[in-house]
Symmetry: C2
Subunit: 305 residues, 2 copies
Amino acid sequence: MKRVAVLTGGVGGAKLVLGLQHMAQPVEISAIVNTADDFRHLGLHVSPDIDTLLYTLSGKANRAQGWGREGESWAFLAALRELGGEDWFALGDSDLALHVLRSARLGSGEALSTITGDFAAKWRITAKVLPMTDDRVATWLDTDVGPLEFQRYFVEQRCAPKVSRIEFRGADSARAAPGVVEAILGADVVLIAPSNPYLSVDPILVVPGIGKALRASAARVIAVSPLVGGKAVKGPTAKLMGELGIAVDNDAIAAHYARLIDGLLVDNGDPVTPGKIAIGRTDTLMTTIEDRVRVAEAALALASE
Amino acid sequence: MKRVAVLTGGVGGAKLVLGLQHMAQPVEISAIVNTADDFRHLGLHVSPDIDTLLYTLSGKANRAQGWGREGESWAFLAALRELGGEDWFALGDSDLALHVLRSARLGSGEALSTITGDFAAKWRITAKVLPMTDDRVATWLDTDVGPLEFQRYFVEQRCAPKVSRIEFRGADSARAAPGVVEAILGADVVLIAPSNPYLSVDPILVVPGIGKALRASAARVIAVSPLVGGKAVKGPTAKLMGELGIAVDNDAIAAHYARLIDGLLVDNGDPVTPGKIAIGRTDTLMTTIEDRVRVAEAALALASE
C-alpha cells in the first residue's frame, strides 16, 4: 500500500486527509500536525489543529462552523461567564472532554503523541495522527498592537491586527515526535496540505528533525496550494501575505516551498508561471467528500508524474 | 446584627446556613467550610463542600439529587467516557465551570479563599463562604480494602468499605484561611452544623488556628445533631459510627463535642442523657425552607439560654 505523509494545519489539511482516506485505492496515511497553535487556556492544554483532525476524521466535526464538534452544547461557557471567567475562546461541553483529559494526562507526564494516538484509536481513526513534536512550540506574531500569541490574534482579535513578523518560539530546540521522522523517511509521497504556509506549515518545517528528514527522504513532495481564485478559502492567509509584502498568488507559494517540493497542485482557475516545479491542476475547493477525494487523487497523480 | 459563625460540611450545613439566611431577624453569617474532602480529579481541583454551599446559597443546587446543580447537562461526561477518561465522579457541564476556573486561578497562585469569595460575590451570596484553610488537607480512611482518599470511599465505593481509622493529612500544619479566626473570635454564636462530626467537622476542628480560636472565643458554641430518629439523614454517619465502635446516639455526639460546645440541639424524637451540656429540641429534619429556618432559630435560641 502506498504510504503518504501529510504535513498539515487544521481545516484545509483535515479535508485533504479525509479525501485520502476515501480514495478507491487505499493508502497508508500519517498526518503530521502543526502544534505551534497549541496554547493553555484556563489551565487547559488546547491543540486546535490536532482537534480539527480528530473531529474531522472521526466524523464529529461541525462542518458549517469550521471548528469544534457537531451538536455541541454550551452550558459550561454560560456558567463560566457567570463566574467572570474568560470566554473569548469558545469551549463546548463535549469539546472540553478532549482538553481536560489531554491536560490531565500531560500533567501526569504522558507525551502529547501518546495521548493523541489513544484518542484517535478510541474514535477508530485509521490514519496516524502525529503531533509534529511533543515539545512546546508557540507561534507569536509581531503586530501593530504588540506581540500576540496565535490564538489571541486568530480568535480573540479575529486576525484584525497587522502582522509584521512571525516567530515560532521553541521550534529550534524541538524534537520531532515519535513516528514523525519514520513517517517521512518511509513515505512514498509527502503532501503539504492547503493550510496556511506561513502560520500552519512553516512551524512544522522548522522543527530541525523534520526539516532534516524531508531533505533525506526519497519521497516526492507535493504541495496543494491554499489559494482558490487568488484568495485563501479560509482564515488569514491572503491578508497575512499582503501584510508581509508577499504577492497573493501561486508563484509566491511555489517560491516559498521552492527548495522543498517537486510539484504544486493549483486550482484550475489560478495562473502560475511555469518554472522548475511540476504543476498539477484540479478544482481545489473542497466542499463535498467527492471534492476531497478528487484533490487527494490529483496530488498523488502529480507525485507519480 | 448578631454574628454567627457556622462550621460546616456539605448538604446538612448548607441547609442550616440557608435557614439562618431566611430568618425574620437577619444575622451576619460566616460559613467556615470543610475542605478536607477536596481532591484533584482529571487535573481539576474539586471542592465538594464549598460547591454545595455555593450552589445552595445561590439557589442553584439540585435538591432532589443532593449534589450538583439544578438543570445540569452531561455532554462532557459522555464525551469523556468515549475517550476512556475516568467517569466515576460525575462532573456536569455547568458544574465544570467552577472546577476549571478555580483550578486555573489556583494554578496562577491565587488562594482558594480569594477565589471562593469571588464566586460567592458573582452569585450575590450574602453569607461569607470561607474555606477552613488555603492549605492542602486531605481526609484518608483506613478501610478493609486499604487506604482510600475520601472521594474514592464516598463516591466511587459508595461508603461500602469498613472504616477503621480516619486521618486528616496536612491538618497539623494547615493555617486557618484569612477571615476564619476573625469570624470565630468576632462571633456571638458558633454553630456546628448537622454535618458528619467525624468526617466533615473534625477536619475543621483539627486545624490548629481554628481550635485555638474556638477555645479563645467568648461565643456560645451550639452543635446541631446530625441524627434524626437515631439515624443520620444522609451519608455514612451512622454506618461509620458503628464501624468505629461508637453508639449511634446523641450521647455519643455530645461526648464527641464535650469540651467544645455549650449546647446540643437534638431532634424531638431522640433520647439524650441529661448532663452538663444544655439540650435544645426541635424537629431537626430539614426538608422545606421553613424547616431550615426553624432549626436555625432553635439553635440560636439555645445559644441565648
